[in-house]
Symmetry: C2
Subunit: 152 residues, 2 copies
Amino acid sequence: MQQLNRQELRQKLVSCSLKATHQRIVVYEALLGLHGHHPAAEEVYRLLKPANPSISLGTVYKILDVFAENGLVRRVFSEQGCKRYDANTMAHSHIYCSNTREIIDFEDPELEELLQGFFQRRNMQNFEMHSFAIQLTGNKKEPDQQVSITKL
Amino acid sequence: MQQLNRQELRQKLVSCSLKATHQRIVVYEALLGLHGHHPAAEEVYRLLKPANPSISLGTVYKILDVFAENGLVRRVFSEQGCKRYDANTMAHSHIYCSNTREIIDFEDPELEELLQGFFQRRNMQNFEMHSFAIQLTGNKKEPDQQVSITKL
DNA sequence: TTCCAGATAAGAATTTTTCTTATGTAAGAA
DNA sequence: TTCTTACATAAGAAAAATTCTTATCTGGAA
Protein backbone atom coordinates (compact mmCIF):
# COMPACT_ATOMS: atom_id res chain seq x y z
CA MET A 1 0.00 0.00 0.00
CA GLN A 2 1.23 3.47 -0.84
CA GLN A 3 2.85 5.08 2.20
CA LEU A 4 1.83 8.71 2.10
CA ASN A 5 2.91 11.31 4.57
CA ARG A 6 0.54 13.83 6.02
CA GLN A 7 1.46 16.44 3.45
CA GLU A 8 0.64 14.08 0.61
CA LEU A 9 -2.65 13.11 2.22
CA ARG A 10 -3.44 16.79 2.54
CA GLN A 11 -2.75 17.21 -1.18
CA LYS A 12 -4.99 14.31 -2.03
CA LEU A 13 -7.90 15.81 -0.11
CA VAL A 14 -7.42 19.24 -1.62
CA SER A 15 -7.33 17.73 -5.09
CA CYS A 16 -10.86 16.49 -4.41
CA SER A 17 -11.83 19.97 -3.24
CA LEU A 18 -12.14 18.74 0.31
CA LYS A 19 -10.87 20.75 3.24
CA ALA A 20 -7.85 19.05 4.70
CA THR A 21 -9.00 18.81 8.28
CA HIS A 22 -7.09 16.86 10.89
CA GLN A 23 -9.94 14.37 11.25
CA ARG A 24 -10.07 13.65 7.54
CA ILE A 25 -6.33 13.18 7.39
CA VAL A 26 -6.20 10.65 10.22
CA VAL A 27 -9.22 8.76 8.87
CA TYR A 28 -7.64 8.51 5.45
CA GLU A 29 -4.32 7.54 6.97
CA ALA A 30 -6.00 4.80 8.99
CA LEU A 31 -7.77 3.41 5.93
CA LEU A 32 -4.54 3.29 3.97
CA GLY A 33 -2.83 1.61 6.90
CA LEU A 34 -5.55 -1.01 7.11
CA HIS A 35 -4.94 -2.17 3.54
CA GLY A 36 -7.03 -5.22 2.83
CA HIS A 37 -9.01 -4.90 6.02
CA HIS A 38 -12.25 -3.20 4.86
CA PRO A 39 -13.23 -1.64 8.14
CA ALA A 40 -16.62 -0.32 9.15
CA ALA A 41 -16.95 3.21 10.52
CA GLU A 42 -17.05 1.89 14.07
CA GLU A 43 -13.69 0.12 13.63
CA VAL A 44 -12.01 3.21 12.24
CA TYR A 45 -13.37 5.18 15.16
CA ARG A 46 -12.10 2.72 17.75
CA LEU A 47 -8.71 2.74 16.10
CA LEU A 48 -8.39 6.51 16.03
CA LYS A 49 -9.98 7.38 19.37
CA PRO A 50 -6.92 6.74 21.60
CA ALA A 51 -4.66 9.11 19.68
CA ASN A 52 -7.51 11.49 18.82
CA PRO A 53 -9.72 11.60 21.89
CA SER A 54 -11.84 14.42 20.56
CA ILE A 55 -12.90 12.66 17.37
CA SER A 56 -16.55 11.69 17.20
CA LEU A 57 -18.17 8.62 15.68
CA GLY A 58 -20.61 10.72 13.71
CA THR A 59 -17.71 12.54 12.14
CA VAL A 60 -16.11 9.28 11.07
CA TYR A 61 -19.37 8.23 9.41
CA LYS A 62 -19.61 11.56 7.65
CA ILE A 63 -16.01 11.51 6.52
CA LEU A 64 -16.22 7.98 5.10
CA ASP A 65 -19.35 9.00 3.27
CA VAL A 66 -17.73 12.09 1.82
CA PHE A 67 -14.67 10.08 0.82
CA ALA A 68 -16.85 7.51 -0.94
CA GLU A 69 -18.77 10.22 -2.79
CA ASN A 70 -15.48 11.68 -3.95
CA GLY A 71 -13.92 8.40 -5.02
CA LEU A 72 -11.19 8.45 -2.39
CA VAL A 73 -12.44 5.16 -1.01
CA ARG A 74 -14.71 2.45 -2.29
CA ARG A 75 -17.76 1.26 -0.44
CA VAL A 76 -17.48 -2.48 -0.19
CA PHE A 77 -20.60 -4.41 -1.00
CA SER A 78 -21.31 -6.52 2.00
CA GLU A 79 -23.67 -9.29 2.95
CA GLN A 80 -23.27 -8.23 6.55
CA GLY A 81 -25.41 -5.58 8.12
CA CYS A 82 -22.97 -2.71 7.95
CA LYS A 83 -21.11 -0.57 5.51
CA ARG A 84 -17.45 -1.28 4.90
CA TYR A 85 -14.82 0.82 3.20
CA ASP A 86 -11.72 0.15 1.15
CA ALA A 87 -9.00 2.69 0.46
CA ASN A 88 -7.82 0.61 -2.47
CA THR A 89 -9.66 2.12 -5.40
CA MET A 90 -7.74 0.17 -8.00
CA ALA A 91 -9.74 -2.42 -9.92
CA HIS A 92 -9.99 -5.50 -7.77
CA SER A 93 -12.53 -8.03 -6.63
CA HIS A 94 -13.55 -9.28 -3.24
CA ILE A 95 -13.75 -12.76 -1.88
CA TYR A 96 -16.25 -13.49 0.86
CA CYS A 97 -15.25 -16.41 3.01
CA SER A 98 -18.30 -18.00 4.59
CA ASN A 99 -16.12 -19.71 7.19
CA THR A 100 -14.14 -16.85 8.51
CA ARG A 101 -16.51 -14.04 7.49
CA GLU A 102 -13.54 -12.27 5.96
CA ILE A 103 -13.64 -9.95 2.99
CA ILE A 104 -10.45 -10.57 1.06
CA ASP A 105 -8.97 -8.45 -1.70
CA PHE A 106 -8.47 -10.41 -4.85
CA GLU A 107 -6.44 -8.90 -7.64
CA ASP A 108 -6.64 -10.76 -10.90
CA PRO A 109 -5.52 -8.62 -13.82
CA GLU A 110 -6.59 -11.24 -16.33
CA LEU A 111 -10.09 -11.22 -14.94
CA GLU A 112 -10.26 -7.44 -14.94
CA GLU A 113 -8.99 -7.35 -18.48
CA LEU A 114 -11.47 -9.98 -19.60
CA LEU A 115 -14.37 -8.02 -18.17
CA GLN A 116 -13.06 -4.68 -19.34
CA GLY A 117 -12.96 -6.10 -22.85
CA PHE A 118 -16.37 -7.66 -22.56
CA PHE A 119 -18.08 -4.49 -21.43
CA GLN A 120 -16.32 -2.43 -24.05
CA ARG A 121 -17.83 -4.63 -26.73
CA ARG A 122 -21.16 -5.14 -25.02
CA ASN A 123 -23.70 -2.62 -26.16
CA MET A 124 -25.84 -1.52 -23.26
CA GLN A 125 -28.82 0.62 -24.10
CA ASN A 126 -29.71 3.45 -21.77
CA PHE A 127 -26.88 2.79 -19.31
CA GLU A 128 -23.65 4.62 -18.68
CA MET A 129 -21.41 2.28 -16.72
CA HIS A 130 -19.00 3.77 -14.21
CA SER A 131 -17.53 0.64 -12.73
CA PHE A 132 -18.02 -3.03 -12.19
CA ALA A 133 -17.24 -5.26 -9.26
CA ILE A 134 -17.12 -8.97 -8.72
CA GLN A 135 -17.49 -10.96 -5.57
CA LEU A 136 -16.64 -14.57 -5.13
CA THR A 137 -18.31 -16.36 -2.28
CA GLY A 138 -16.99 -19.60 -0.87
CA ASN A 139 -14.72 -21.07 1.73
CA LYS A 140 -11.04 -21.02 2.39
CA LYS A 141 -9.97 -24.62 2.74
CA GLU A 142 -7.29 -23.69 5.26
CA PRO A 143 -8.64 -20.74 7.22
CA ASP A 144 -5.19 -19.61 8.32
CA GLN A 145 -3.64 -19.71 4.88
CA GLN A 146 -4.00 -17.19 2.11
CA VAL A 147 -5.98 -17.53 -1.08
CA SER A 148 -3.92 -17.29 -4.24
CA ILE A 149 -4.11 -17.97 -7.93
CA THR A 150 -1.83 -19.82 -10.28
CA LYS A 151 -1.54 -18.60 -13.82
CA LEU A 152 -3.55 -20.39 -16.46
CA MET B 1 -41.43 -15.02 -12.78
CA GLN B 2 -42.75 -18.44 -11.94
CA GLN B 3 -46.30 -18.24 -10.65
CA LEU B 4 -46.57 -20.84 -7.94
CA ASN B 5 -49.65 -21.61 -5.99
CA ARG B 6 -49.62 -22.14 -2.26
CA GLN B 7 -49.34 -25.89 -2.57
CA GLU B 8 -46.27 -25.59 -4.77
CA LEU B 9 -44.70 -23.09 -2.38
CA ARG B 10 -45.35 -25.56 0.43
CA GLN B 11 -43.56 -28.25 -1.58
CA LYS B 12 -40.61 -25.98 -2.17
CA LEU B 13 -40.20 -25.30 1.53
CA VAL B 14 -40.54 -28.94 2.47
CA SER B 15 -37.94 -29.88 -0.12
CA CYS B 16 -35.52 -27.69 1.81
CA SER B 17 -36.54 -29.45 5.04
CA LEU B 18 -38.27 -26.32 6.21
CA LYS B 19 -41.63 -26.45 7.91
CA ALA B 20 -44.26 -24.96 5.65
CA THR B 21 -45.72 -22.39 7.99
CA HIS B 22 -48.19 -19.79 6.85
CA GLN B 23 -45.71 -16.98 7.50
CA ARG B 24 -43.02 -18.58 5.40
CA ILE B 25 -45.43 -19.18 2.56
CA VAL B 26 -46.65 -15.60 2.40
CA VAL B 27 -43.11 -14.22 2.67
CA TYR B 28 -41.95 -16.44 -0.16
CA GLU B 29 -45.00 -15.57 -2.21
CA ALA B 30 -44.36 -11.88 -1.68
CA LEU B 31 -40.74 -12.22 -2.78
CA LEU B 32 -41.73 -14.04 -5.93
CA GLY B 33 -44.39 -11.43 -6.60
CA LEU B 34 -41.83 -8.64 -6.23
CA HIS B 35 -39.66 -10.03 -9.00
CA GLY B 36 -36.88 -7.62 -9.70
CA HIS B 37 -37.62 -5.48 -6.68
CA HIS B 38 -35.02 -6.71 -4.11
CA PRO B 39 -36.88 -5.71 -0.98
CA ALA B 40 -35.46 -5.32 2.50
CA ALA B 41 -37.10 -7.14 5.41
CA GLU B 42 -38.94 -4.01 6.42
CA GLU B 43 -40.55 -3.69 2.99
CA VAL B 44 -41.72 -7.28 2.97
CA TYR B 45 -43.17 -6.75 6.41
CA ARG B 46 -45.07 -3.62 5.41
CA LEU B 47 -46.42 -5.41 2.38
CA LEU B 48 -47.68 -8.43 4.29
CA LYS B 49 -48.94 -6.75 7.44
CA PRO B 50 -52.35 -5.62 6.12
CA ALA B 51 -53.39 -9.12 5.03
CA ASN B 52 -51.50 -10.82 7.86
CA PRO B 53 -51.90 -8.58 10.88
CA SER B 54 -50.36 -11.08 13.25
CA ILE B 55 -47.03 -11.36 11.43
CA SER B 56 -44.09 -9.85 13.22
CA LEU B 57 -41.11 -7.98 11.82
CA GLY B 58 -38.68 -10.20 13.70
CA THR B 59 -40.24 -13.20 12.04
CA VAL B 60 -39.76 -11.70 8.60
CA TYR B 61 -36.08 -11.11 9.37
CA LYS B 62 -35.69 -14.66 10.58
CA ILE B 63 -37.53 -16.14 7.62
CA LEU B 64 -35.47 -14.23 5.06
CA ASP B 65 -32.35 -15.34 6.84
CA VAL B 66 -33.43 -18.97 6.84
CA PHE B 67 -34.39 -18.75 3.17
CA ALA B 68 -31.00 -17.30 2.30
CA GLU B 69 -29.20 -20.02 4.25
CA ASN B 70 -31.19 -22.62 2.34
CA GLY B 71 -30.69 -21.10 -1.08
CA LEU B 72 -34.35 -20.22 -1.60
CA VAL B 73 -33.43 -16.58 -1.98
CA ARG B 74 -30.23 -14.70 -2.64
CA ARG B 75 -28.92 -11.96 -0.42
CA VAL B 76 -28.24 -9.01 -2.64
CA PHE B 77 -24.98 -7.24 -2.03
CA SER B 78 -25.78 -3.65 -1.42
CA GLU B 79 -23.90 -0.44 -0.97
CA GLN B 80 -26.77 0.74 1.16
CA GLY B 81 -26.86 -0.07 4.82
CA CYS B 82 -29.49 -2.76 4.78
CA LYS B 83 -29.88 -6.27 3.58
CA ARG B 84 -31.89 -6.93 0.46
CA TYR B 85 -33.25 -10.18 -0.88
CA ASP B 86 -33.95 -11.61 -4.30
CA ALA B 87 -36.12 -14.63 -5.00
CA ASN B 88 -34.49 -15.04 -8.38
CA THR B 89 -31.70 -17.49 -7.67
CA MET B 90 -30.78 -18.00 -11.30
CA ALA B 91 -27.41 -16.65 -12.33
CA HIS B 92 -27.78 -12.96 -12.93
CA SER B 93 -26.03 -9.71 -12.16
CA HIS B 94 -27.20 -6.49 -10.66
CA ILE B 95 -27.00 -2.97 -11.90
CA TYR B 96 -26.88 -0.16 -9.38
CA CYS B 97 -28.20 3.08 -10.74
CA SER B 98 -26.67 6.04 -8.92
CA ASN B 99 -29.45 8.32 -10.13
CA THR B 100 -32.48 6.39 -9.15
CA ARG B 101 -30.89 4.25 -6.41
CA GLU B 102 -32.45 1.23 -8.07
CA ILE B 103 -31.05 -2.26 -8.05
CA ILE B 104 -31.85 -3.73 -11.44
CA ASP B 105 -31.66 -7.38 -12.47
CA PHE B 106 -29.40 -7.87 -15.41
CA GLU B 107 -29.39 -11.20 -17.17
CA ASP B 108 -26.60 -11.68 -19.62
CA PRO B 109 -26.03 -15.33 -20.45
CA GLU B 110 -22.90 -14.54 -22.43
CA LEU B 111 -21.38 -12.79 -19.45
CA GLU B 112 -22.28 -15.63 -17.10
CA GLU B 113 -20.82 -18.12 -19.50
CA LEU B 114 -17.65 -16.12 -19.93
CA LEU B 115 -17.10 -15.99 -16.18
CA GLN B 116 -18.14 -19.57 -15.63
CA GLY B 117 -15.49 -20.59 -18.13
CA PHE B 118 -12.89 -18.30 -16.65
CA PHE B 119 -13.30 -19.59 -13.13
CA GLN B 120 -13.33 -23.18 -14.28
CA ARG B 121 -9.92 -22.69 -15.80
CA ARG B 122 -8.60 -20.38 -13.12
CA ASN B 123 -6.73 -22.28 -10.47
CA MET B 124 -7.42 -20.84 -7.07
CA GLN B 125 -5.34 -22.16 -4.24
CA ASN B 126 -7.01 -22.71 -0.89
CA PHE B 127 -10.44 -21.54 -2.01
CA GLU B 128 -13.59 -23.44 -2.79
CA MET B 129 -15.85 -21.12 -4.73
CA HIS B 130 -19.58 -21.43 -4.29
CA SER B 131 -20.78 -18.58 -6.41
CA PHE B 132 -19.83 -15.33 -8.03
CA ALA B 133 -21.73 -12.13 -8.55
CA ILE B 134 -21.18 -9.01 -10.58
CA GLN B 135 -22.48 -5.55 -10.07
CA LEU B 136 -22.37 -2.75 -12.52
CA THR B 137 -22.59 0.73 -11.15
CA GLY B 138 -23.55 3.68 -13.27
CA ASN B 139 -26.46 5.75 -14.43
CA LYS B 140 -29.49 5.16 -16.54
CA LYS B 141 -29.50 7.84 -19.19
CA GLU B 142 -33.29 7.92 -19.25
CA PRO B 143 -34.43 7.19 -15.71
CA ASP B 144 -37.87 6.07 -16.84
CA GLN B 145 -36.68 3.71 -19.53
CA GLN B 146 -35.28 0.24 -19.11
CA VAL B 147 -31.71 -0.89 -19.48
CA SER B 148 -31.14 -3.47 -22.18
CA ILE B 149 -28.38 -5.11 -24.15
CA THR B 150 -27.93 -5.68 -27.83
CA LYS B 151 -26.14 -8.79 -28.96
CA LEU B 152 -22.49 -8.45 -29.89
C1' DT C 1 -5.68 38.68 10.92
C1' DT C 2 -10.25 38.40 9.88
C1' DC C 3 -14.02 36.09 8.19
C1' DC C 4 -17.21 32.58 6.95
C1' DA C 5 -18.55 28.39 4.50
C1' DG C 6 -18.09 24.30 5.71
C1' DA C 7 -16.53 20.83 9.34
C1' DT C 8 -16.83 18.93 13.92
C1' DA C 9 -18.44 17.29 18.71
C1' DA C 10 -21.89 15.71 21.35
C1' DG C 11 -25.54 13.38 22.01
C1' DA C 12 -30.36 12.67 20.83
C1' DA C 13 -33.11 10.26 17.61
C1' DT C 14 -33.97 6.99 14.16
C1' DT C 15 -33.37 2.89 11.68
C1' DT C 16 -32.03 -1.74 11.29
C1' DT C 17 -31.21 -6.06 13.26
C1' DT C 18 -30.86 -9.45 16.81
C1' DC C 19 -32.27 -11.60 20.96
C1' DT C 20 -35.38 -13.50 24.61
C1' DT C 21 -39.19 -15.84 26.19
C1' DA C 22 -43.72 -17.42 26.35
C1' DT C 23 -46.86 -19.37 23.28
C1' DG C 24 -48.33 -21.59 19.08
C1' DT C 25 -48.29 -24.99 15.42
C1' DA C 26 -46.75 -28.39 11.59
C1' DA C 27 -46.20 -32.84 10.83
C1' DG C 28 -44.87 -37.37 12.23
C1' DA C 29 -46.14 -41.10 15.61
C1' DA C 30 -49.48 -43.66 18.01
C1' DT D 1 -57.81 -38.78 14.77
C1' DT D 2 -55.36 -37.18 18.64
C1' DC D 3 -50.97 -36.72 20.86
C1' DT D 4 -46.36 -35.18 21.02
C1' DT D 5 -42.54 -32.47 20.34
C1' DA D 6 -39.28 -30.03 17.90
C1' DC D 7 -39.37 -26.11 15.64
C1' DA D 8 -41.60 -21.52 14.49
C1' DT D 9 -43.76 -17.27 15.82
C1' DA D 10 -45.24 -12.86 18.32
C1' DA D 11 -44.07 -9.32 21.03
C1' DG D 12 -41.24 -6.39 22.61
C1' DA D 13 -36.82 -5.44 24.72
C1' DA D 14 -32.21 -4.80 23.50
C1' DA D 15 -28.37 -4.02 20.72
C1' DA D 16 -26.13 -2.31 16.74
C1' DA D 17 -25.72 0.85 13.01
C1' DT D 18 -26.65 5.18 11.16
C1' DT D 19 -28.47 9.76 10.75
C1' DC D 20 -29.75 14.13 12.44
C1' DT D 21 -29.54 18.50 15.12
C1' DT D 22 -27.39 22.25 16.97
C1' DA D 23 -23.89 24.87 18.94
C1' DT D 24 -19.18 25.54 18.28
C1' DC D 25 -14.97 25.51 15.85
C1' DT D 26 -11.52 25.97 12.06
C1' DG D 27 -9.09 25.76 7.35
C1' DG D 28 -7.88 28.57 4.12
C1' DA D 29 -9.20 32.48 1.13
C1' DA D 30 -8.94 37.43 1.08
